[in-house]
């Protein structure tokens, strides 16, 4: 039975579905966004899409094995210098196989559902930097706007004007004062604050 043949009309839809699934793959999008494969990471990611499509359309063996599909995905990720050990390759391969089966039957519901839903936000992988400094600056702006030293003069101004989120920082302060009434004094761990005077 020739059920394995993708028709001419379902192939572009299936291709779009592949692109949708891969764009929702957080590891792949992280690799592309952070250029783990170099400057042409996006080109390599598109190559993965076409490799997957050719796996489905051009492989002559009757049963398509998911292991081979996982190998295709693994090779593509290795071209992006990425080694995934979190099991997402198996999940994505399974989703692709299921979508292929659905497209063979002419069922495009899952692809349309993917089209309408928004992709999840990309995980921005940033190297670990000192966060204590930044938090101190924001809190200092709100409390010591008058006593800003000359050294920090430019930085607090830019932060208060450009960072609207600095306003809500005022709210925790009254709650901290309220806690002091219990007999406990809140000591904030701002080591730089003492040093600036």
């Amino acid at each position: 039975m020739e059920t394995r043949r993708l028709t001419a009309e379902s192939t572009p839809v299936f291709q779009e579905g592949i692109g949708l699934i891969l764009s929702r793959w957080s590891a792949l999008t992280a690799a592309v966004e952070n250029e783990w494969g170099g400057r042409d990471s996006r080109v390599k990611a598109n190559l993965i899409c076409s490799d997957v499509l050719s796996f489905f359309t051009e492989s002559k063996a009757e049963p398509l094995y998911i292991d081979d599909l996982e190998n295709v995905l693994e090779e593509g990720l290795l071209s992006l210098n990425t080694v995934l050990e979190d099991g997402s390759i198996e999940e994505v391969a399974e989703k692709l196989m299921i979508m292929h089966e659905e497209c063979l039957e002419g069922n495009y519901q899952s692809i349309e559902k993917l089209r309408t839903t928004n992709p999840p936000p990309v995980a921005h992988v940033k190297p670990f930097t000192e966060d204590d400094e930044d938090e101190d600056d924001d809190e200092d702006d709100c409390m010591d706007a008058d006593n800003a030293t000359t050294m920090m003069e430019d930085v607090p101004n830019s932060r208060t004007s450009s960072n609207p989120a600095s306003m809500p920082i005022d709210e925790p302060k009254p709650s901290q004062a309220a806690e002091a009434e219990d007999g406990w004094t809140v000591v904030s761990s701002r080591r730089n604050k003492g040093g600036r005077n």
Binding site: S59, K60, S79
Partner: protein
């Protein structure tokens, strides 16, 4: 003496010097362009312990975070830990993405496709 590789085993063009990094395995100094770089994405909790952690979790449907590590190996460590492999002289020039060994089932190999060799990751081609 012969040149083993056209780029000299590293990716330095138009520069005189590249600062070195320390190998993440042994601590050896290796030039940044010469090191073998891999990005590892792993779950913080291993597969065996995921169920235990999720049962003990206070929050409902808490997606476990992942660990993103950039590994930079010196050539010695990369070969020792099988990240890369030695290749023959003709295969060294192959800069294609490496092809993993396809586990063949009992059915006949696909006649349409060229047989995929068990080539591993290039070792500083």
């Amino acid at each position: 003496m012969t040149f083993k590789r056209r780029n000299g085993g590293r990716n330095k063009h138009g520069r005189g010097h590249v600062k070195f990094i320390r190998c993440s395995n042994c601590g050896k100094c290796c030039p940044k362009d010469k090191s073998i770089k891999r990005f590892l994405v792993r779950n913080i909790v291993e597969q065996a312990a995921v169920r235990d952690v999720q049962e003990a979790c206070v929050y409902d449907s808490y997606t476990l975070p992942k660990l993103y590590v950039k590994m930079q190996y010196c050539v010695s460590c990369a070969i020792h830990s099988h990240v890369v492999r030695v290749r023959s002289r003709t295969n060294r020039r192959n800069r294609d993405p490496p092809q993993r060994f396809i586990r063949r089932r009992d059915d006949t190999p696909k006649p349409g496709q060229a047989p995929r060799p068990g080539v591993a990751v290039p070792a500083r081609a």
